[in-house]
Symmetry: C2
Subunit: 266 residues, 2 copies
């Protein structure tokens, strides 16, 4: 059996979206066929013929396939654009329901807010990007951002940066000059520099090169530092708030030293 890589990709994604293996394979199989019977499908994919029927029924409920109740039964996938629209609609619906539900619940009585050293860890590209966006929007005086990896300069981030008020200092550093050029091109209003922090390029320790992700300092009182795990490529971050926060203090000190070569635009 042939299994083009795109097919495997699609199957994988469909499973993340909640289908099981048979269902995912059947759907992808059907998108490759104008119309198909259980037999054809089981030949094209590696779903046992006798289990195609169950899978199709589930797919039908999802709104992803149509069934012709003849004998033998014929199946066909809903046109791609329709299928995508249906899935979008489905998840948009869930997300909205969640939003509503959580909006109207929230907060149980709370005693004391601990005033101490708060350093929080989070992970995940999307989540960290969202947090960064929130912080940037909240800034009132100064934004210092160092981008350690090209892959982090996403469309979303660029949009957020370009929405920053004119009277806020926006300073963006990179680890390499090519990346600096890229930043200049897409965020013209920012002051850019190439970071003097060579250690950011990766630990010299043997193999395990943890590379820097981003470094974001807002109004000298809130800091977000992320790194990218070498194996999984997943992004991890730590996050501290408050002028007196230990992490923020260190960050300011780093800034004062090597981070920005000349304190003003080069």
């Amino acid at each position: 059996m042939d299994t083009p890589e795109n097919v495997e990709d699609a199957v994988e994604v469909l499973q993340k979206l909640g289908l099981n293996e048979y269902e995912a394979q059947c759907f992808v199989g059907l998108t490759r066929l104008n119309t198909g019977t259980a037999k054809k499908l089981s030949e094209l994919t590696d779903v046992p013929r006798t289990r195609v029927y169950d899978a199709i029924r589930v797919l039908e409920v999802w709104g992803l396939v149509e069934i012709q109740h003849s004998s033998p039964q014929q199946f066909r996938a809903v046109p791609l654009e329709e299928a995508i629209a249906t899935l979008r609609g489905q998840y948009e619906g869930y997300v909205e329901r969640l939003h509503d539900a959580l909006d109207t619940v929230d907060v149980v009585e709370e005693d004391d807010e601990s005033p101490v050293q708060q350093i929080w860890a989070m992970s995940g590209q999307t989540a960290i990007e969202n947090r960064a966006a929130q912080l940037i929007k909240k800034a009132t005086d100064e934004i210092v951002l160092v981008i350690g990896d090209e892959s982090l300069l996403t469309e979303n981030l660029v949009d957020t940066l370009n929405e920053v008020d004119d009277d806020i200092d926006l300073i963006i550093g990179t680890l390499t000059e090519p990346l600096q050029e890229q930043v200049r091109a897409v965020v013209p209003d920012a002051t850019t520099f190439v970071s003097g922090l060579e250690w950011l390029h990766g630990e010299s320790t043997t193999e395990n090169k943890t590379s820097i992700g981003r470094l974001l300092l807002i109004d000298r009182s809130t800091i977000l530092v992320s790194s990218i795990l070498p194996d999984t490529k997943k992004e991890q971050a730590i996050f501290g708030e408050g002028f007196g926060n230990g992490l923020v203090v260190i960050a300011r000190r780093i800034m004062a030293h090597g981070l920005i070569p000349a304190r003003d635009p080069q």
Copy 2:
């Protein structure tokens, strides 16, 4: 333990989005707490304390909670708007990946297209609505739509109807006059009528009232008929294409008879 209904709702939705029970409960629990420890969480929810840690780790990878690595560890949920944005981004990403993958795969060699009676069954609100939208967009001459249930007159449907070209006959029927008024209000360009088909109001057979959903006839050659299951409220449809299609023929005949009381606007 108290469990406000919204909490249960949220937990349910989160599970549909791919979290397991503990993870869902922990997240909802954390949104009710500014910050919490494993113990607090296990008291608020009914997640065993010893399993809170696993759940939180997963949530952290999803980008939904932050962890403070102190002792005891502190957890807190990402702000609601951030969480929603993260989930949206996640699923949007999946859907796009799926779109791309399927776009570049498609079609295996195909022999014959069966020219016969094709009547397809599909189900699901969203899917049927999407299909209806596609059909309406493809119409060139005439659109006849009968709406059997108020719940089907969604925003999406109204939008689609209002985008119809002026030179296409747009005829919309309802089962009741109040609903007709509603339609007139939101789709002013349509010719409306109240259907003469009393049997649409529900089978007289004992209990099992299957009520009509929608009935859509495009250019007298494509038909979509849906019904709403009385117990589950789920929508089911059958769909036929081609002027000679048996279902379409029947549909035309019904039209000629009782469906539209006076063939022209009343």
